[in-house]
C-alpha cells in the first residue's frame, strides 16, 4: 500500500512536469498546425541556458525562469518570421523536414560547445528529501512539480481570459473567421511560436533542475511531448494535464515493475493504441479554441 502511494506520488510529480512540457508543443500544433520535431531540442537548449546562467553568472535557476521564457520567446518569433512562415505555405512535409533539420543543428551545436557530458543544475536549497507519513518526498521533484503547476495555470489563465489568448484560440478554430474580426493570423502565428518556444525553454529550465541532461535528450523529449498531446487530446490545457499524468503514471509503474528499459516501449505501444482507437485523444478536446 505504501509502495503504491509512493509510486502514485512520483507519478503525479513527474506527470505534472510532462503536462507543462507538452504545452508548448501542442499549442503550436493546435494553432499553426505544425509538428515541431525540434521541440525537444529547444527544451534542452533551455536547460543549457539555465545551466550557463547558473554556473557562469550565478543566476538562481528559479530566478532564471523569466529569462528562459524571454529568450525562448524571441527565438521562437525569429524562427517563425525567418523560416516557418515561408515554409508553412508549402507542404506540411517540408515543415517536418525543416524542424527535423533544426533539431539536428541544435543538438550538434550544443554538443560542440558543451560536450556530451551529463550536466545538471544543483539547487542548493532543494537537495534533500523529507518524510510525510510513510512517503518520501524529494525536494527537487516537489519544487519542479510546484513550478510546473504554477506555470501551467498561468498559461491556462492567459489563453482563457486575455484578449491575446482569445485571439490565439480564435485562430486555432477558424483562421478566416479571425481575419473577419480584424485579427492578423500571421501575427498570431508568430506570437504562438514565440510562446511555444518560451514554454520549451521554461520546461528546459525545469528539466535541468529535475535531472541531468545531455545535448541529445531532445528526441526523447519530443516523443514525450507528442505522447502527452496525443494521450490527452490536442488543444486544451486540461487535456495536457490528463495526458501528462497518464504518461507519468505509466513511466513510473513500468520502470518500477518491468525495468527502466521498458518505459519508452510501453509509451509507444500506448500511443499506437490511442491513435488507433481514439484518434482525437482520450479527452477528445479539439484545438485550443474550445471552451
Amino acid at each position: 500500500m505504501d509502495l503504491l502511494l509512493q509510486l502514485l506520488l512520483e507519478a503525479i510529480l513527474l506527470g505534472t512536469f510532462y503536462a507543462f512540457l507538452s504545452l508548448g508543443f501542442s499549442l503550436t500544433w493546435g494553432v499553426l498546425n505544425i509538428l515541431n520535431l525540434a521541440y525537444g531540442s529547444l527544451v534542452v537548449l533551455g536547460s543549457y541556458l539555465a545551466y550557463s546562467l547558473f554556473n557562469a553568472v550565478g543566476v538562481d535557476p528559479i530566478v532564471s525562469l523569466p529569462i528562459s521564457f524571454a529568450v525562448g520567446f524571441v527565438l521562437g518569433l525569429l524562427l517563425q518570421v525567418s523560416f516557418v512562415n515561408r515554409v508553412i505555405k508549402l507542404e506540411p512535409f517540408m515543415v517536418l523536414i525543416l524542424t527535423f533539420g533544426l533539431d539536428i543543428l541544435i543538438s550538434h551545436t550544443l554538443n560542440y560547445f558543451f560536450k556530451a557530458d551529463i550536466r545538471s543544475i544543483d539547487v542548493p536549497y532543494a537537495e534533500g528529501s523529507f518524510i510525510v507519513g510513510n512517503l518520501i518526498v524529494s525536494e527537487v521533484k516537489l519544487l519542479v512539480f510546484l513550478l510546473s503547476l504554477i506555470l501551467t495555470a498561468l498559461l491556462f489563465l492567459f489563453l482563457r481570459f486575455t484578449w491575446t489568448g482569445r485571439a490565439i484560440r480564435a485562430v486555432a478554430l477558424d483562421v478566416e473567421g479571425a481575419r473577419l474580426v480584424g485579427i492578423s493570423p500571421e501575427r498570431v502565428f508568430a506570437l504562438t511560436m514565440g510562446i511555444g518556444t518560451g514554454v520549451a525553454f521554461l520546461s528546459g529550465n525545469l528539466y535541468g533542475i529535475l535531472q541531468g541532461f545531455t545535448p541529445f535528450d531532445g528526441g526523447l523529449l519530443t516523443v514525450k511531448a507528442f505522447l502527452v498531446s496525443v494521450l490527452g487530446g490536442l488543444g486544451r490545457v486540461e487535456s495536457a494535464l490528463f495526458g501528462g499524468l497518464l504518461l507519468g503514471t505509466m513511466e513510473i509503474f513500468v520502470s518500477f515493475y518491468a525495468g527502466e528499459s521498458w518505459k519508452l516501449f510501453a509509451s509507444l505501444v500506448l500511443m499506437i493504441l490511442v491513435l488507433i482507437f481514439r484518434p482525437r485523444g482520450l479527452m477528445g478536446g479539439k484545438y485550443y479554441g474550445e471552451a
Partner: protein
C-alpha cells in the same frame, strides 16, 4: 465625401485562373441598404469576399469612404469599418456566444462593454444564450451571432451573405425587422446578399441582379418590384 460609402468599378476577380467576376460596377450610398440577388454560383459571395479582402481582385477599383482599399489586408479593412457576416458564418463554434461577440470587438476593445450591450439589445436571444457554445445554437441564432459579431466592430458598412438561407420564416421576419432597426439606429450602410428576392427587395433601397459574374440589372427596389422581367424570373408572378 462623395456620398458613396462603397464604390466599386470595373472589378474583376476569380479563383486560380478561372474568372468569376467580370466588370462589376456597384456602389452603396451613405445609410443605404443595398441588396444583391441572382442565381446560385453567379458570384455574389465572391464579390463580398473581394470587398472584405479575403480574395484579391484581378483588376478594377474598390473605394471605401473615397479611399482605395484594394491593397489593404482584411484586418485593415475591418479597422476602416467594413464588416462581413460571411457565408457559412465563420463563427468560433467551440467558444461561447459571448466570447464570439468579444472577439468581434477585437479592434474596438476600449468600447467592448457598450457594444456588447447594444448587440444584446438587438438580439435578446443572444443574451440568454451568452454562455452556450456557438456550435450549439440553432441556425437562426447563429445568424444573429454572426451579424452581432460583425456589429461589435462598429462598422460603417455591414455586409451580410445569405441573410435568410435555411431559416424558418418567422425567424427571417424578425431578422428583417432587426436589420431595418440597425440601419435606423446606427445610421450605417448595409449590403445584403439575399436569394429570396421578395425579401431582398422588401428590405432594401436599391438592388443589383447578378448573373454569371456580371450585373444584369439594377435599380431602386420599388422599381424592380414592379418590373415585369423581375416579376417573371425571380418572383414567379405574372
Amino acid at each position: 465625401m462623395s456620398g458613396k460609402v462603397l464604390d466599386v468599378s470595373d472589378l474583376r476577380a476569380g479563383y486560380g485562373d478561372v474568372e468569376i467576376l467580370r466588370s462589376i460596377n456597384l456602389h452603396v450610398g451613405d445609410g443605404e441598404i443595398v441588396a444583391i440577388f441572382g442565381s446560385n454560383g453567379s458570384g455574389k459571395s465572391t464579390f463580398l469576399k473581394v470587398v472584405a479582402g479575403l480574395l484579391r481582385p484581378w483588376g478594377g477599383s474598390i473605394r471605401f469612404m473615397d479611399e482605395h482599399i484594394e491593397e489593404l489586408s482584411p484586418e485593415e479593412r475591418v479597422r476602416r469599418g467594413i464588416a462581413l457576416a460571411a457565408e457559412g458564418r465563420k463563427l468560433f463554434l467551440g467558444m461561447s456566444v459571448e466570447e464570439n461577440l468579444l472577439l468581434g470587438g477585437w479592434i474596438r476593445r476600449d468600447r467592448v462593454k457598450e457594444n456588447l450591450e447594444r448587440v444584446y439589445e438587438y438580439f435578446p436571444q443572444l443574451r440568454e444564450k451568452r454562455r452556450a457554445l456557438a456550435g450549439d445554437l440553432s441556425g437562426g441564432q447563429q445568424q444573429m451571432l454572426s451579424i452581432g459579431r460583425a456589429l461589435m466592430s462598429e462598422p460603417k458598412l455591414l455586409m451580410i451573405d445569405e441573410l435568410s438561407l435555411g431559416l424558418a420564416p418567422a425567424v427571417v421576419d424578425r431578422l428583417a425587422q432587426i436589420i431595418l432597426s440597425i440601419r435606423e439606429r446606427e445610421g450605417i450602410s448595409i449590403l445584403v446578399v439575399e436569394q429570396e428576392v421578395s425579401l431582398a427587395l422588401e428590405i432594401s433601397d436599391r438592388a443589383y441582379v447578378f448573373d454569371l459574374g456580371t450585373i444584369v440589372d439594377e435599380g431602386s427596389s420599388e422599381e424592380l418590384l414592379r418590373r415585369d422581367s423581375i416579376r417573371k424570373t425571380y418572383l414567379s408572378l405574372m
